[in-house]
């Protein structure tokens, strides 16, 4: 498996050659975060509540969502569509490499870089803004949160990969991706915790895969879910993981038959 380790390492060094690009990207993320942060600070003054949240909890949620977002949403799979259209994907196809592990390794390299940066950024936020946040002290919640983040990473990997596979049929692979961004921004819980929505909506959203990308892991960390709720959530997330896995494989098989290895 050393080959996949090398792919992770190469992706890491590749990102380093575009330092400025990467730093700018992170600045964008930080500014976005600060906007949401100050918005919530204004909406919830100290000693007020909004649903199950006081100021401390909502700020922790926002910080947590930011960090989980850095892990889950950093991906290279957005390049798959282009790689198919340009024929570059042939380079992977003619080698004894597992296509999915190849791209997942690239993701891991990319994620490692993003995690490193967000750790630095969060430290800076703590030092400068000195927010009071909730620290989870129960190791079980902590471990379950990590488990749910891993599932989130895999689910997002499959969703993004499937969108990339559209490249087999059309050159316009970015249009659906923009819709994904909108969905993720709104119903994954990146900007606000989903449980401030009407309970009817929340009942519906608990079956959506997007809920498990950000909202669920952060909620587990906050310790606001009971063990049965966590177990139920993990089951749904696992079901989505398997479903997306099977669907990705299926689309891949059909796509390969359609593949024209263009551009050469």
């Amino acid at each position: 498996m050393k080959k996949y380790w090398l792919i992770i390492k190469n992706t890491w060094s590749e990102t380093l050659t575009y330092r400025l690009n990467f730093v700018m990207w992170r600045i964008r993320v930080v500014v976005q975060f600060l906007t949401i942060y100050f918005l919530w600070l204004a909406v919830l003054p100290p000693n007020t509540n909004f649903g199950p949240y006081d100021q401390k909890l909502i700020l922790t949620y926002i910080l947590g969502a930011w960090f989980v977002g850095a892990i889950v949403f950093s991906t290279r799979t957005a390049d798959i569509g282009e790689a198919i259209n340009s024929g570059d994907v042939s380079n992977t196809l003619i080698k004894p490499v597992n296509f999915f592990l190849y791209w997942f390794s690239r993701d891991l390299g990319d994620k490692a870089m993003n995690i490193m940066f967000s750790v630095v950024e969060i430290t800076l936020v703590f030092l400068i803004l000195e927010p009071s946040v909730f620290i989870q002290t129960q190791i079980t919640f902590f471990a379950l949160a990590i488990l749910s983040i891993i599932l989130a990473v895999i689910i997002y990997f499959f969703i993004s990969t499937i969108l990339g596979f559209l490249g087999f049929w059309t050159p316009e692979t970015w249009a659906p991706r923009f819709i994904l961004f909108i969905l993720v921004g709104f119903i994954a819980g990146e900007i606000f915790p989903l449980d401030i929505l009407p309970s009817g909506v929340m009942k519906f959203l608990q079956f959506s895969p997007f809920t498990y990308l950000i909202y669920f892991p952060v909620k587990v960390y906050l310790g606001q879910l009971s063990y049965p709720q966590i177990l139920g959530g993990l089951t749904i997330a696992l079901a989505w993981t398997i479903l997306f896995y099977l669907f990705t494989k299926l689309v891949w098989r059909f796509g390969l038959r359609f593949y024209a290895a263009q551009g050469r």
Partner: protein, 328 residues
């Protein structure tokens, strides 16, 4: 020695579906709503075998189906119909064992990691193909000295020249010493010196490792220098498959007769014998129709004061052009 077929192709057909779009904004909208497809026949019922260790040249104009054929052979494409067998594998199954014994070098597509030194790609390929350390070191040392690139292995690929990059591409593709090698336009866009360099390298590699090689190229010089056997494809069909010499004998429209004259001769006299390619006393080169050659040579020897006479085959490019023109 019993020759074994490394590649067998039988009645291979490959069609592509291409989306058609009328030009302009309105056309784009129309094609969004309802897309029209057209089937393009890229390879139309071709059959051939390649023996182990053989080096075959694929010739044909752009869009003839050369690359499509290579893509079918390397497992990138599913054939529409027909049988393809490479080292007793069906390529499109892309079994690990099959992938480990082939390589596909594309002149216009690189596998090297653009932002990293070529060595990183070599090292990754070492792991991908399970090459042990000693073997890897030896291969890299040998190939990079043959190609004279020992000094650039640690320079980021994006800083290399096209020629250096192509050489590194070759090394990356040969790290695992593939039994079958597909070379698609490996010399495209390179200068004459590097072209020659690469040609010699490919020849040495083929002889030393007895690997089976199929090469496509626009440069007839490549094919002439490397392949004894050529397959000519046009419009998805094979129009010639055989030795290069046979091709020249069969299709050469003319031959070149070069003379060294003892005495200066009137140009008009030479003109009667054939087309004058050059005349700088004492040397003259005449182009003569192939079937007339014997007659003209006799006439020259009889009537002209020659010191030396030499008959050469036609330029291979002219022969190929002639083949395509005749077909049309």
């Amino acid at each position: 020695m019993l020759k074994v077929n490394a590649i067998t192709v039988k009645n291979l057909i490959k069609t592509y579906r291409v989306a058609e779009k009328s030009p302009g904004v309105l056309g784009s909208i129309k094609s969004l709503v309802r897309r029209k497809y057209r089937d393009v026949l890229a390879v139309n019922d071709i059959s051939f075998n390649v023996e182990e260790g053989e080096l075959v040249g694929f010739i044909g104009p752009n869009g003839a189906g050369k690359t499509t054929t290579l893509k079918c052979l390397s497992g990138l494409l599913y054939p529409t119909s027909g049988e393809v067998s490479v080292l007793n594998h069906k390529p499109w199954e892309r079994k690990t064992q099959f992938l480990k014994s082939i390589a596909f070098v594309m002149g216009q597509k690189n596998q090297l990691w653009w932002d990293l030194p070529p060595m990183e790609t070599f090292l990754l390929n070492k792991e991908i193909y399970d090459i042990d350390g000693a073997n890897f070191q030896e291969t890299i040392k040998e190939l990079s000295s043959l190609l004279e690139i020992g000094n650039i292995l640690l320079t980021p690929v994006k800083k290399l020249s096209l020629g250096q990059r192509m050489k590194c591409e070759l090394v990356a593709a040969l790290v695992h010493r593939p039994k079958v090698l597909f070379l698609d336009e490996p010399t495209i866009g390179l200068d004459v010196v590097i072209q020659k360099n690469l040609r010699e390298f490919i020849k040495t590699y083929n002889q030393k490792y007895q690997s089976t090689i199929i090469l496509t190229s626009h440069y007839m010089r490549d094919v002439e220098a490397l392949a004894r056997r050529v397959i000519i494809i046009d419009g998805g069909k094979i129009i010639f498959d055989g030795l290069l010499e046979t091709l020249v004998k069969k299709y050469a429209p003319y031959k070149l007769i070069s003379l060294i004259l003892k005495k200066e001769v009137d140009v008009q006299k030479l003109k009667k014998l054939g087309i004058i390619k050059s005349y700088n006393y004492p040397q003259a080169v005449l182009s003569v129709e192939s079937r007339e050659t014997n007659k003209v040579v006799t006439e020259i020897l009889k009537n002209l004061p020659v010191d030396d006479i030499n008959v050469q085959e036609a330029d291979i490019e002219d022969v190929i052009r002639h083949v395509f023109q005749n077909k049309k």
